[in-house]
Amino acid sequence: MSHALLQLTGVTKTFGGIHALSGMACEVPEGKIVGVIGPNGAGKTTLFNTITGAYRADGGSVTLKGVDITQWPSHRIVREGIARTFQNIRLFGSMTVWEHLLVAQPHNEASWRRLLPVAWVNPAAQARADEVMDFFGLTAFRDRPAKSLPYGIQRKVEMARAVTARPKLLLLDEPVAGMNHDEAEEIRTLMLRLRDTGLSILLIEHDMNFVMRLCDYLYVLDFGVPIAEGTPEQVRADPVVLDAYLGKDD
């Protein structure tokens, strides 16, 4: 693969003696969509939590553009350029769509301007929120409480919140779970458009059809260990994968 934006080497995470991740190695090149598949309990969400600092890795290293971020706190990792969504949507209950897109933008922590009304001091943040809202087709929901919106729209708000921070890498945890075919297609188109803007995406997804049609490269996890990798065609044809995962469905 080409030069890696994100690189994991020998990442291990255990919970009370159970290896959720065991010597995990993978990489996400710039401007590519990489998928992680595997059965329930394979360690996919643990992988995301370890990359984003929600869990501390017990061993191995995570680097972003060559910078070791393994032991960094979450907020610092986000500022370095990794944004994410969650398996179960986690929006802020008291905020409108617009407020979600403002609060997730990076800022200069020391600036006293953060204490003044956003409308007075931060036209750039407002313009960015407008731009992202437009990109995701959320403008009509601008002032609606985000949690009051339909499920599919909430998923888009969560993605928009992640993108508004101008990340280098976007981690999506089952972005089309619970969506119908049309909604999933819309998300797929959005992701391809995001990739075209230069954003790299790492996603976890159970919908095989969706993954195969979207991803440039795939990793297959089982019991915290990568058992196969390659292009969707290679993975589809891999007998190990067929045995461990795909084959069971057929």
């Binding site: 706190p73 944004a83 969650f86 802020f92 209950g93 905020m95 609060v103 997730a104 990076p106």
Partner: protein
């Protein structure tokens, strides 16, 4: 205005600040039942600065707010490990510690209290209270407030979208402590006498009550709560001994009907639109 009503008005202004001090901390999802202690620190420190150091009141209030803010930040550090009821209990413990400190601190009068402050008018109290209310209302439209809301709504998600949740929670605690200290300084200089009992548990509970009753999701809720808490028992005076029971029942009723308190975002919006339409 009679001296009696002037003192009630001053009391409500001071309670407004106390309520705001709780409101700011509550905005990050933390409940402090110890803000009476920060009020006490502000009262004693500002009184010492004006009486002993002959400092002008404004400067004394600012210094007291800064010192209380610093103490608030220090208290917030261990408190970060605690959530909900446990944090509330820890703040009660802290308040009790501060109260007994002043009880034994003979240099500031100990249990006999401290006096000698220059009296300030109800106008001065409300100048500060109104100014700080407006400042908090402006803060509610800021980036920092959005971050506080995010921490309140979902702390884990807030961290994972790049917010420093620890800094946000500590800053809120410090800001709340600073506002409580100003309330204390104004209380001391309006009443010209202070004693440790003024800043006990009941005071802290009054602050929380004003926020819960008036509205815990918007700053003007503290104003409504403070006015009600001070003036409602007066309005109910004709029923004499039963007035506190009636007040208590009313409080329970409001909380049953409106968990978010009397004032909230949608009520403010409705009132504003009606006024604009008229």
């Amino acid at each position: 205005m009679s001296t009696y009503y002037a003192s009630l008005l001053a009391e409500s202004g001071i309670l407004l600040l106390g309520a705001l001090s709780v409101y700011i901390i509550l905005a990050t999802g933390q409940l402090s039942l110890g803000n009476g202690a920060f009020m006490g620190i502000g009262a004693y420190l500002s009184s010492w600065l004006t009486v002993t150091m002959h400092m002008p009141l404004t400067l004394a209030l600012v210094i007291s707010a800064l010192v209380a803010g610093l103490i608030g930040a220090v208290v917030a550090f261990p408190a970060l490990r605690l959530k909900g009821i446990y944090l509330a209990m820890a703040t009660v413990g802290f308040a009790e510690m501060v109260r007994s400190f002043f009880l034994n601190f003979e240099a500031m009068g100990g249990s006999g209290g401290f006096r000698g402050m220059q009296h300030i008018s109800v106008g001065t109290v409300w100048l500060w209270a109104g100014g700080i209310l407006i400042a908090v209302m402006l803060l509610e439209r800021s980036r920092v407030w959005l971050e506080m809301q995010a921490v309140h709504d979902d702390e884990t998600a807030a961290g994972l979208i790049g917010l420093n949740t620890t800094a946000t929670k500590i800053s809120a605690f410090a800001a709340g402590a600073a506002v409580a200290a100003i309330a204390g300084g104004l209380f001391a200089h309006h009443n010209v006498y202070i004693e440790p009992a003024n800043f006990g548990f009941e005071r802290s509970v009054d602050f929380v009550l004003a926020v819960i009753l008036g509205g815990s999701t918007v700053a003007p809720g503290s104003l409504v709560g403070a006015l009600l808490l001070v003036f409602l028992p007066e309005v109910l005076r004709p029923i004499a001994d039963w007035r506190l029971a009636a007040f208590g029942s009313l409080l329970v009723l409001v909380l049953l009907v409106r968990r978010q308190g009397i004032l909230d975002r949608s009520l403010i919006r409705a009132l504003t639109f009606r006024r604009l339409a008229a």
